[in-house]
């Protein structure tokens, strides 16, 4: 862990994207950012969902927003004024978006300038993409070095993820400049073993076979996610849960550690399991 801090990448841009709405991008962006920051890396998480600010609520800093990403892009505020330092993890910052503007307020030059400035101070820059595959989503992915494609085991989500993987391979700066391609991985969320066993939901292998990109992790459907969002905590900072362990594992893999894939679940372990979090 400590050696990663020394020679790990500085200012690596990771976009959390999906195409389909409501699959768990913001939940994942918050959990992944907090889990990386907990390991001592400097992390900033940016809300790219202009006009529908929500990351601030999930991170629990909604009352501290003064200036936002758009103010900075448009030169109305300095970056240091818009960054909100997390009160629980001191290496974590949030760059909230505007609630009143629309996606056209972002320009790619403006975004690039902000990212360049953030790279000087942060090891990881996590971009929470809006749903869709239009301007807002493309802006969030354009400067990415890596992508986490959040996917639910369900037909429309898998299809949209495939579209997004296509865009990551063609409509990003790395693609356009012929650099090493964006490293894309799938994060399967809202996984429900019960429904898979009953044949109602596609299994992990089915999704991977279809999308043909590496699997970053499997996050089970978990009541801990709603609870954490109620209180404004990234799920990994809240009480131990199957979802929190799954995000911790995914982050370990994201940082290059070799962690065996496991499928957690809320249900099996009963009451005690909730406190100790884990299952096979």
């Amino acid at each position: 862990m400590t050696q990663l801090k020394e020679d790990g990448p500085r200012g690596r841009v990771i976009v959390i994207t999906s195409g389909k709405g409501g699959v768990g991008k913001t939940t994942s962006a918050a959990a992944i950012s907090a889990a990386i920051a907990k390991r001592g890396h400097k992390v900033v998480v940016i809300d790219f969902d202009v006009g529908l600010r929500n990351l601030d609520m999930i991170m629990g800093c909604e009352r501290r927003v003064v200036f936002d990403f758009i103010n900075v892009v448009q030169g109305d505020a300095r970056l240091s004024q818009a960054l909100i330092k997390d009160k629980r993890v001191d290496t974590l910052s949030i760059l909230p978006t505007s609630q009143t503007r629309d996606k056209d307020a972002l320009t790619s030059e403006g975004v690039e300038k902000v990212l360049d400035e953030l790279r000087k101070d942060f090891d990881y820059i996590i971009c929470d993409s809006p749903a869709g595959i239009e301007r807002g989503a493309q802006m969030a992915m354009y400067y990415a070095d890596e992508a986490v494609v959040v996917t639910n085991p369900e037909v429309s989500s898998v299809r949209d993820s495939d579209r997004v993987l296509g865009l990551l391979a063609s409509k990003t700066q790395r693609a356009e400049k012929g650099l090493e391609p964006v490293k894309s991985q799938v994060l399967l969320t809202r996984h429900d073993q019960g429904r898979i066993d009953r044949g109602e939901m596609m299994a992990v292998e089915d999704v991977l076979e279809l999308l043909a990109v590496p699997l970053l992790g499997i996050v089970p459907e978990s009541t801990a996610v709603l609870r954490a969002s109620n209180v404004g905590m990234p799920v990994v900072l809240d009480a131990p849960s199957s979802a929190a362990s799954a995000y911790e594992d995914a982050v370990a893999r994201l940082l290059g550690e070799d962690v065996p894939m496991r499928i957690g679940s809320d249900k099996r372990p009963g009451l005690l399991g909730r406190f100790f979090g884990r299952s096979a």
Partner: protein, 97 residues
Amino acid sequence: MSLFGFSLKPRRPKSAQTAKDRLQILLAHERGSGSQEPDYLPAMQNDILAVIRKYMKIEDDEVDIRMERRDDISSLEINIEMPTQQKDATAAKARSR
């Protein structure tokens, strides 16, 4: 909130209530200011800077504006770094509502 928040059982107050409380505060602010809220801050910052500049020389990054929203009151904190004479920052606190 919950009377039982500190009872012996390791039970926490219901998170749904927390969610409602947080939203109530946030939505009141967002509606109250007619959806224009965040937009006046940059302009206000410029005005404040202009006023201060009538009396002293300061750089853009020597003024810092922070806001904290609470249930019944919001506080707006304006920190101005004073050049030369005083080394430590002078804080001017203004309260709204």
